[in-house]
């Protein structure tokens, strides 16, 4: 069982009830295809089969900003601490870490950077607008 971080805390998985629906997206999937089901999903999982496959970041961003998904958005697959900062910026709030990754040490990675230049899901107003304010 992989380790789970949720809401920036190490947690153990709570069992799903039989009526709970989990939507799982692979990198090549189109979130538009599941847009109608998002309201009924217990969570959405986005798979990162490889460390360097960055499609899931765009999927997360689209789920949050274009399709209005507000429930649990979980990154699964090859997840190391080095990716957490970007993943959170793109709208993920849960992460199944890959085997061998220390989850408590990994929590520090959310603080790798104290700012982002770009607008993101976590911080919709880009730095240049906040600098100007």
């Amino acid at each position: 069982m992989a380790t789970l971080i949720k809401g920036r805390r190490v947690v153990s998985e709570s069992p799903l009830s039989s009526s709970d629906k989990v939507i799982r997206l692979e990198p090549a999937d189109d979130p538009a295809a599941v847009a109608g089901e998002l309201g009924r999903a217990a969570r959405v999982e986005v798979n990162f089969p490889k460390f360097g496959d960055g499609r899931g970041y765009s999927l997360a961003r689209l789920l949050r900003t274009r399709y209005g998904y507000r429930g649990e958005l979980r990154a699964v697959g090859h997840i190391t601490r080095d990716l957490l900062f970007f993943m959170e910026s793109c709208g993920f709030d849960a992460y199944e870490l890959r085997e061998g990754e220390d989850p408590h040490a990994a929590l520090a990675a959310f603080e790798d950077f104290s700012e982002s230049y770009q607008g993101s899901v976590a911080r919709p107003v880009p730095l240049f607008r906040r600098r100007a304010a």
């Binding site: 990198p27 460390f51 360097g52 496959d53 960055g54 499609r55 970041y57 765009s58 999927l59 961003r61 274009r66 190391t80 080095d82 900062f85 970007f86 993943m87 910026s89 793109c90 061998g100 790798d112 950077f113 104290s114 700012e115 982002s116 230049y117 770009q118 607008g119 993101s120 919709p124 107003v125 880009p126 730095l127 240049f128 607008r129 600098r131 100007a132």
Partner: protein, 565 residues
């Protein structure tokens, strides 16, 4: 120079700490080779043929004397006392120790420098014209736009794991000196109805599949720059090929989709983003512009150059017009015969930093031709600068000439190379060391790459040389007719060279070049018609015939290759 504010500095410091941790985890065995590879590449660290190579970012090629002194000291302390300026306007160290790289990055951060995203599948250094801000045909100061894009493309959360590397170039002048046509995205400033905007090209590039970019938007008003780029990048991030590294650049996506279909997808994506929070505001443009240090020019008149022997040759080749009367831009040549193109020692770096301080407001630029430019020199100081530069071996009067060779480090250093490039460059420089003859030949860009990745930009050399491997032997393929774009004097637009035929042994390359030059000198209609202009006018056939021979003519002695490589 753009001067960091507290946030810019903090982000660079935080990156150093992050990479220090990642290096420690790798050395402790907590990160695999593959995982660490993806992370170290984001910090410009390659594992090369003999040692690691660290590529230090010089954003859009702009550098201060203080930064150059720091680079000199780092090269001395952590490397072998020299560095190599690359065609992407960065500096490469060829012998750092892996475990010391975090310390090097920490030292760089003290002078507002870093190695962020100088390699790996993410945004690379944004490049521009090395005469930005001083050119007479300026439309906008492209440095300001480069810095805006530097910030936007640094640690982009969504676009940090792209299918492949991503290179953006901005040209802010009328003539294109930034080769915008051979970049993943090229932006050419345009003013329309008193509004600044950009012509947007996409899908150009060199490498294995050289292509000229397609214009996907004739005019993009500046406030929409970031949202439009975001739309392009989202389409690329989602649909760019990830199954084959050689087909992963955006140019392949644009080609496979077709430019019209690609444009439609971008416009559809942009419809969601347009006028959103990432729309640029005038306050930000002003803020960035104000953070750039600016020379305080004196009121001077233009002067005639002094008729001093030697000086005039240098003046003709290495001194360039400036928008402010009484000033000139000067290229310090890093292309002296016998020195690998773009290489500079720590002692030279210190001396150049001092020249920049005394002659050019303490700033300099790295050109993609691997030379250094002092952009703001008083014309009355030119002769004194020339004398000092000559003593330092930096006054070779060959800018724009055949011996100003662009070359990648090649097989002497690079693990990817099929063949060496530096010895080829040197053999050509030695063959053409007669200055009068060089000037007689006139403007000629000769570019050499040691493999298909084309770091030496051979496709856009008037003569391009590509190292190829055949059964473990080094061979060299020759192209002609490529062009990097317009020069400060105008001229032809960007074009790609065409291969003249089967490849050659290394020893034959200077002979081949000499034959090509021979055809050119016979065929040109005047001295003003350059080598590349003649190729474009008469085609490559006459050149092929001279090199490979008619039936009765002897081909170069090792010419025994039956087919194109």
């Amino acid at each position: 120079m753009y001067l960091y504010d507290e946030i810019d500095q903090r982000l660079v410091d935080e990156r150093v700490a992050q990479f220090r941790g990642q290096t420690r985890r790798f050395l402790d065995g907590q990160l695999s080779e593959d995982e660490f590879k993806a992370l170290r590449l984001r910090n410009g660290l390659y594992i090369q043929r003999y040692a690691p190579m660290l590529r230090i970012a010089i954003p859009y090629g702009l550098l201060s004397s203080r930064q150059l002194r720091k680079l000199a000291s780092i090269a001395r302390r952590y490397d072998r006392g020299y560095g190599h300026f690359s065609t992407r306007q960065n500096l490469q160290l060829n012998w750092p120790k892996l475990e010391q790289v975090p310390d090097i990055l920490a030292e760089l951060a003290t002078v507002q420098m870093h190695a962020i995203q100088t390699s790996g599948n993410s945004f690379r250094n944004v490049t521009t014209d090395h005469f930005a801000g001083v050119a007479r045909d300026e439309i906008v100061d492209s440095f300001v736009w480069c810095e805006i894009l530097r910030q936007w493309s640094t640690f982009h959360p969504e676009f940090s794991y792209l299918p492949r590397k991503f290179k953006i170039a901005i040209n802010g002048a009328k003539a294109d000196r930034a080769a915008v046509g051979v970049h993943d995205i090229g932006l050419h400033a345009v003013v329309q109805d008193n509004q600044t905007g950009f012509r947007v090209l996409v899908g150009g590039g060199l490498g294995r599949t050289p292509l000229i970019g397609t214009v996907i938007r004739e005019f993009l008003p500046w406030p929409h720059l970031l949202t439009y780029l975001e739309a392009i990048l989202r389409v690329y991030n989602r649909y760019g090929r990830r199954d084959n590294i050689h087909k992963a650049r955006i140019k392949i996506l644009v080609k496979e989709r077709g430019a019209d279909k690609f444009r439609e997808e971008v416009e559809a994506e942009w419809a969601h983003l347009k006028d959103g929070p990432d729309t640029l505001i005038p306050e930000e443009i002003a803020r960035v512009a104000e953070r750039f240090t600016r020379p305080t020019y004196e009121k001077l008149a233009d002067e005639e150059p002094r008729a001093e022997p030697g000086f005039l040759n240098w003046y003709k080749r290495n001194v360039h017009p400036h928008k402010v009367p009484g000033y000139a831009a000067v290229t310090l040549s890093l292309k002296k015969t016998g020195v690998p193109p773009g290489d500079v020692t720590s002692d030279q770096m210190d001396a150049i930093a001092s020249l920049a301080e005394r002659y050019s407001f303490g700033e300099l630029r790295v050109s993609h031709e691997q030379n250094l430019v002092l952009a703001d020199v008083r014309q009355r100081d030119l002769a004194a600068l020339w004398r000092e530069a000559r003593v330092l071996g930096l006054a070779t009067p060959n800018i724009g000439l055949l011996t100003n060779i662009i070359s990648c480090p090649g097989g002497d250093f690079c693990a990817l190379a099929n063949a060496k490039s530096i010895p080829v460059a040197q053999a050509i420089q030695e063959r053409f060391d007669d200055l009068d003859y060089l000037h007689e030949i006139g403007e000629l860009d000769l570019n050499i790459s040691g493999c298909m990745n084309a770091c030496g930009q051979h496709h856009i050399g008037h003569i391009g040389i590509l190292g190829v491997d055949k059964n473990g032997e080094e061979w060299y393929q020759v192209e002609i007719g490529g062009n990097q774009g317009e020069t400060i004097a105008g001229g032809a637009k960007v074009s790609l060279g065409r291969v003249i035929g089967p490849s050659f042994a290394r020893a034959d390359v200077p002979d081949v070049i000499e034959r090509l030059i021979g055809v050119y000198l016979e065929q040109r209609d005047s001295e003003a018609e350059r080598f590349v202009d003649v190729v474009h006018r008469i085609g490559i056939e006459p050149f092929k015939e001279r090199v490979y021979g008619h039936a009765h003519q002897r081909a170069p002695r090792s010419q025994r290759e039956p087919a194109l490589v």
